[in-house]
């Protein structure tokens, strides 16, 4: 469904991705692992168009999307839950979610999806009129995911959904991620610090190291691979 081939990307003079090839099959959850600065978030930014690749190819469902503007990429079915959540802090929960559906015009369907998101995250429904900046960290993460789902993506890019959250909240959120994947058939590319957690939901994993793919294997094999665990995943 998504394929990155020999992608190179840089922030000014600093090369963040040297040569990355990643493939995400339809319906799967694929995870990108690795230390800080390995290039995980950068990879997502290249896919969603926030960063233009310097070289290489990004293909989504048979079309070349490399270097397209983010607002065009969303329309093709890719939603990005970015690093740091990036919710609209002074807008209400409801307004945040409606912005998620900005690309869509069919009101009844949007209405149904709003109910679906509120069904996934009842805490958001309780706070729909509240200003998003006043939500707790977990609720903000739920809002960021819910907002991305409002665009009805076929591919969801998730950047560090567990960051800074209490273990119980993390468990809830990962439960929802699994549901989104299995029941709604949304393909997911997941960036996560907590490798153990990520490998528990993913079917395939890539370990990045300073802008290159160090190892890639099915998630079960990665989880069992002692060397990989000790040298890259740190658990």
């Amino acid at each position: 469904m998504l394929e990155l081939r020999n992608v190179r990307a840089a922030y000014g003079p600093v090369v963040a991705l040297h040569d990355i090839s990643v493939s995400v099959p339809h319906g799967a959850i694929v995870t990108l692992l690795g230390a800080n600065g390995a290039g995980k978030s950068t990879t997502l930014r290249v896919v969603s168009g926030l960063l233009k690749p310097a070289a290489g190819l990004v293909r989504f469902e048979d079309s070349d999307i490399s270097g397209q503007a983010p607002d065009r990429i969303v329309r093709q079915g890719i939603s990005h839950v970015p690093e740091g959540r990036q919710i609209f802090a002074t807008l209400t929960v409801d307004e945040n979610l409606r912005l998620g559906a900005y690309t869509r015009s069919e009101r009844p369907a949007v209405r149904r999806d709003l109910d679906r998101v509120y069904g996934y995250f009842p805490r958001l429904a309780e706070r729909s009129g509240q200003v998003a900046g006043t939500l707790s960290g977990g609720e903000q993460q739920m809002l960021a995911i819910g907002r991305a789902l409002m665009a009805r993506p076929r591919l969801l890019l998730l950047d560090e959904p567990s960051l800074g959250l209490a273990p119980l909240v993390v468990r809830d959120i990962f439960q929802i991620i699994r549901t989104i994947n299995q029941e709604d058939g949304v393909t997911i590319l997941l960036v996560e610090q907590d490798a153990k957690l990520a490998l528990s939901v993913a079917s395939y994993g890539y370990v990045l190291e300073t802008g290159r793919v160090a190892v890639h294997q099915p998630a079960n094999d990665l989880a069992r691979n002692e060397t990989v665990r000790r040298s890259y995943l740190g658990y």
Binding site: S48, G49, L50, A69, P70, D71, V74, R75, S79, H80, P82, Q86, I87, F88, A89, T90, L91, E95, R98, L99, G100, Y102, T103, R147, A148, A151
Partner: protein, 330 residues
Amino acid sequence: METFFDQLAIGASTGALYALLALALVFIFRATDIVNFAQGEMAMVNTYIGWSISRPLSLSWIPLLGIERHINLLTWRPEVLGFPLYLGSESTGLTRIGYVVVLVAATCIAFFTGTVVERVIVRPSEGKNLLNAVIVTLGLFAVLNSVANWRYGPVPQTYPTPFRGDAVDFGLFKLGQHSVFSLIVGVVLMMLIYLFFQRTKLGLAVRAAALNPQASQLMGINTGRMLTLGWGLAAAIGCVAGMMVAPSVSGISPNLMLGVLLYGFAAAVLGGLDSATGAVIGGLAVGIGQSMVVQYIGSEWSDVVAFGLIIAILMLKPTGLFGAPVVKKV
């Protein structure tokens, strides 16, 4: 006591115009962090355009380009749904309907020129050094002022309004017809702006793009287009303010908006440069304050009060009454 209420009403009416200009400044500041010093001069040029549309012959449609116009609004008798519209006559000038038509037309032209200004002049300096962008707007200020001086001369031209004659008696106070009209236009426009930003999807998108451009792009919003739209709206709002100001001062001149811009700034700073509510309340406060100062202290003090207010607010509460606390962007 009667004078007090009269002054209050006059203050509210000019205050509504300050509020409009302050709103225009706030929109652009929120979206781009740029203080648009050319806001007043853009309004002045658009007011000249409105003025020349409504004059009998001799002047050109697009005054700056010198293209001759073909329709004389004063003798034009269009029919709308079978009813003839009397926009004006050569001897008495524009009718009220004609005046409103000119106002709407000039506002539309202002919207268009605002978008062009953003695309052509401001866009190249956006997102780089803020100081560059501010200097660009200062330069635009100087250029527009000079062009108007060259094209129309420094002498104020009368700007006739059909809203003249006896003041309207509201019991508690009397208010000139044009002031009543300005107040109504100001309030209606503010309500429209409110509805646009609070109730429409596009308005929500403009707000989002101002808050967090990157996240907005991820929602599918073309943030560049939202900026252009924001500049167009700000120019249109400023134009309405200019068209309302011209008849109530000595007429239209290249320096028409200098004072209004100053008071609009005072209003925006008082309310907080990033708050629309603040701009409206700041505008009314400055307008009423000014008319009280003129009445009870002396007209020579009104500029001092406006400047004093800006300085005092910046010293005591830099974010203004309604502004969000300044958070340094990382």
